[in-house]
Amino acid sequence: MSTSNVVAPPGTQNPKSPQLRAGVKKNRRQQGRWALYLILPTLVLLAVVIGYPVVSAIIMSFQKDAGLDPATGLFVQGGFAGFQNYAHWLFQQCAGPNGESITCPPGNLGSQFWNAVFVTFFFTVTTVVLETVLGMWFAFIMNRTFRGRGLVRAAILVPWAIPTAVTAKLWYFIFSVAGIANAVLGAHILWTSDEWASRFAVIIADTWKTTPFMALLILAGLQIIPEEVYEAAKVDGATTWQRFWRVTMPLVKPALLVAVLFRVLDALRIYDLPAILTGGGGGTGNATTTLSILVVDQIRQGFNSASALSTITFILIFLVAFIFVRFLGTNVVRTQEAQQKGAK
C-alpha cells in the first residue's frame, strides 16, 4: 500500500512544480513497465511449464476415452464426457454393457479410488508422525557436542542420500520371504503380500529413508536457539522437561512446521517406494496402492480418465496444503517475524 500513492492529492502542500510532478509520474510509470518486461520471461516460462499442462489436463479430463468402432475395430475419439470421468472416480460409476451406468466391479480401477485415498492418507499420517518424532530425537543427538559427532551426523544422513528406487529395492530384498527381516524375527511373514504387513513394510522403509530429512531441518531450527536462553531457564530452575516444552518447542516450531509441511506434501504423492517395494499389492491386491500409483495404472488404460484422477489428486493435495498454511502456516510467518524482532 505504501508504495502506490504515486501522486499526492491536489491541494496538499507539495513543493514540486506540476512539470516535475509529471516527470516523476512518467518515471514511475516507466519503471512499472520495465518491471513488467523483466518478469515477463518468468511468467511466460511458468505459463508454459505449469499453466499449459494443468489446463490441458483439466480439458482432457472432460473428454471421453477413445472407444472402439465395432465395424473397423479401430479406436475413435470419445467426445465430450461432462463430469463422467469424475463420477467414475468419486462415485465408482462405470459404463455398463449397454451404455448404462453401473457400479464399477472389482478389478476396474474406478472401484479402487477410495481405497487409494485411504491408503495415501494413512501412509501420510503414520509416516509423518513417526518421522517427526524420530527426526526430533535424531536432531537433539546431532545438536549435542560429543566426540564422534561428525560420524553420527554422516551415518544418520546416509539413508537420505540413497535414491528412493535403490532404497525400495534394498527393502524389497530385506522383506522377501527368505530375506533378513524374517530371519532376524524368526518369523514367516509374507511382507509384500499380507495386507497390513505390506503397509508396514512401506511405512518402515519410508521412515528409514526420510527421517534424516526431518532431522536435518529440525537441527537447523535447533541451532538458531541461543545457548543463553537455556542458561536463563536453568537459572530460573526449569526442569529438563519444562525446558523442552517451554523453551525448545516454541523456538523450534517454525522450522518444524515447514519440515512437516514438506513431508506431508511429499507423502501425499508417494509413488516410487510402494510401486517398487510392493507393486501397490498386498491384501486383496491393492493394500498399498496410493493415488499416484492409481494414476499411473490408469494412464495405460486411458489418458482422459487419468487426467480426471490427477486433477482430483491435485485438488486433494492443494486442499491439505491450504489447510496447513491457513491454520498453521500463518503461525509460521508470525513467529518468524516475532523471532527476528526478538533477536535484534
Binding site: 471421453k64 455398463g96 506434501l265 499389492g281 486383496t284 499411473v296 496444503a321 510467518v333
Partner: protein
C-alpha cells in the same frame, strides 16, 4: 504480513500445480497415418527395440547394412524396462514420427497399437509368408483378422522337475498332484509358478484357464468369455493348490526369479518357468539341482494333450508413418530368415519362431530344452490380442489374486473379472 501469507499460499499452489502437471500425460485419441502410402518406397530406416542385452541386434544390423548400402538400418535402442519402451513408442506414434520405421512390440501391445491405427497392416504387397512359422506366434501378431506384426522371437512356459525324486515327469495336473506326496515326505514345496500380482500372474492364470479349454476374451479381443465353466475349472486348480498346500503359501509372492531361486535351492519339486532358467540352474554356483533337474511340457488335463502355455516374445511391426515401407518389409523378412533366427537363439537364447529350427540336431545338443519348448509353443495360446489389454490384465490380476488368497470364491472372482473387462471395453 498479509503479503507474506499470500506468497506462501501462492508458493504452495505453484508447487501443487507442478506436481499435478507431471501426471497429465499426453492426449489419447485416434487417427492413424495413411496405410496405403509409401508402400513401394525404399531408403534408410530406423529399427526400434528395447535394450539389446545379449548384443544380437548390432551384428545383425551391420550385416544388413553391408548388403544394403542404400537402405541402411539405424538401430535405436530403448531402455530395458517394458513399460518405458511402451510409453516411448506411444509418444512417437502420437507425434506421427516417421523416424520410427520398424518397431519391436511386446506380444501384448499389438492389439492396442493396431486399434490406434499406428501399425501398417501386413496385407497386399506387404503380406508375410507365415507357412514356416509356429502358428500361435502368428496369432499373437493378428488383430481382428488382420496381421499387423511379424513374429520375431517367441517364448513358452515349461515344467522344471526334480528327476532324482520323480523319475517320469507328470503328464497331467492330477498326476502332478499325486507326486506332491513325495515333496511332502521330503519337506519341500510341490509346485510353484508366478503368482505375485503382476503380469506373470495373468500369464499363469491364462495358462490354467486355457489348459481347461476356457478363454478370457473372444477372438475379437472384446467379447468376454471368462465366465465359463471351463475357466472356472482352470482357476479352481490353482486355488485348490494353494488351499491344499500343494502350492506353498509363499508362492503368492513369487515372480520368475524367486521361483527360480527356490527351485535351485532344492525347495521345490515342480516349477513352471521360462526357458532362461535352464542354463542358470545348470551353471549357477548356488544351484543345488545342477544334475538333478529335468524339463517337460506343462501338465495338461488329459495325458494326450499337454498344458497350454501363454506366449511370450516380441513381434516386429512397421509404423504406418514410415516413409520407406518396402525396405521395412524386407527387413521384417530378414528378421524371420533362418540365418537370423539361428543367430537369435545361439547368441541370445531367444526362442525362434521358425518351426524347423527346433528340429535342428546341432542346436538341440547346444540347447537341450528346444524340443520341450517346441511342444510348449505349438500348444500355446497368446494372451488376448486386445486394444483393452491393460484393463483386461488388471481385471485378471486383481480378481484371480483375491481368489488365490482365498478372499473371494472362484465363482465371484470370475464374475467380477468378466464385469470389469466388460466395463473397459464398453468405455
Amino acid at each position: 504480513m498479509k503479503a507474506a501469507r499470500l506468497s506462501v499460499i501462492a508458493g504452495v499452489a505453484v508447487v501443487g500445480l507442478a506436481l499435478a502437471g507431471c501426471t497429465g500425460g499426453g492426449s489419447g485419441g485416434s487417427g492413424g497415418g495413411d496405410a496405403s502410402a509409401n508402400l513401394t518406397s525404399k531408403g534408410p530406416i530406423t529399427y526400434v527395440q528395447g535394450k539389446d542385452n545379449s548384443n544380437v541386434v548390432r551384428p545383425l544390423v551391420d550385416k544388413w547394412n553391408a548388403a544394403h548400402p542404400d537402405e541402411k538400418v539405424t538401430f535405436k535402442e530403448q531402455s530395458d524396462q517394458a513399460d518405458q519402451q511402451h510409453d516411448d513408442l506411444v509418444q512417437h506414434f502420437q507425434a506421427k514420427d516417421s523416424g520410427y520405421d520398424v518397431v519391436d512390440v511386446d506380444v501384448v501391445w499389438t492389439g492396442e497399437f493396431a486399434a490406434k491405427g499406428w501399425l501398417q497392416p501386413l496385407t497386399g504387397d506387404l503380406k508375410m509368408d507365415n507357412s514356416a512359422l509356429l502358428a500361435p506366434t502368428v496369432k499373437s501378431g493378428t488383430y481382428n483378422g488382420t496381421q499387423y506384426a511379424a513374429p520375431q522371437t517367441s517364448d513358452g512356459g515349461i515344467l522344471y522337475y526334480r528327476k532324482d525324486l520323480v523319475p517320469t515327469p507328470p503328464k497331467t495336473w492330477d498326476e502332478m498332484l499325486k507326486d506332491c506326496d513325495i515333496a511332502k515326505a521330503k519337506g519341500i514345496g510341490c509346485y510353484a509358478g508366478q503368482f505375485a500380482k503382476y503380469e506373470g500372474l495373468t500369464v499363469n492364470v491364462a495358462e490354467a484357464i486355457n489348459t481347461n479349454g476356457g478363454t478370457i476374451v473372444g477372438d475379437d479381443g472384446k467379447t468376454v468369455t471368462v465366465d465359463s465353466s471351463e475357466a472356472n475349472a482352470g482357476l479352481t486348480r490353482l486355488t485348490d493348490g494353494f488351499k491344499n498346500g500343494q502350492i506353498p503359501a509363499e508362492a503368492i509372492t513369487y515372480q520368475e526369479e524367486q521361483g527360480r531361486q527356490a527351485f535351485e535351492a532344492g525347495k521345490l519339486l515342480f516349477l513352471r518357468n521360462w526357458p532362461y532358467v535352464y542354463n542358470l540352474a545348470k551353471t549357477d554356483g548356488s544351484s543345488t539341482v545342477k544334475d538333478t533337474f529335468g524339463i517337460a511340457p506343462l501338465p495338461g488335463v488329459t495325458a494326450d494333450k499337454p498344458g497350454v502355455s501363454s506366449l511370450g516374445g516380441h513381434n516386429a511391426a512397421i509404423s504406418v508413418y514410415s516413409k520407406h515401407k518396402a525396405t521395412a518389409f524386407a527387413f521384417l523378412k530378414f528378421l524371420q530368415s533362418e540365418e537370423t533366427q539361428k543367430f537369435f537363439v545361439t547368441q541370445g537364447s531367444l526362442a525362434p519362431v521358425l518351426s524347423s529350427l527346433y528340429d535342428d540336431a546341432s542346436l538341440n545338443t547346444q540347447l537341450p530344452y528346444l524340443s520341450t519348448l517346441k511342444t510348449s509353443i505349438e500348444n500355446a495360446v497368446p494372451r488376448p490380442v486386445s486394444p483393452f489389454y491393460p484393463a483386461i490384465t488388471k481385471a485378471v490380476q486383481d480378481n484371480s489374486y483375491a481368489a488365490l488368497k482365498g478372499d473371494k470364491s472362484v465363482d465371484q472372482a470370475l464374475k467380477d473379472m468378466a464385469a470389469a473387462i466388460k466395463t473397459a471395453s464398453a468405455g
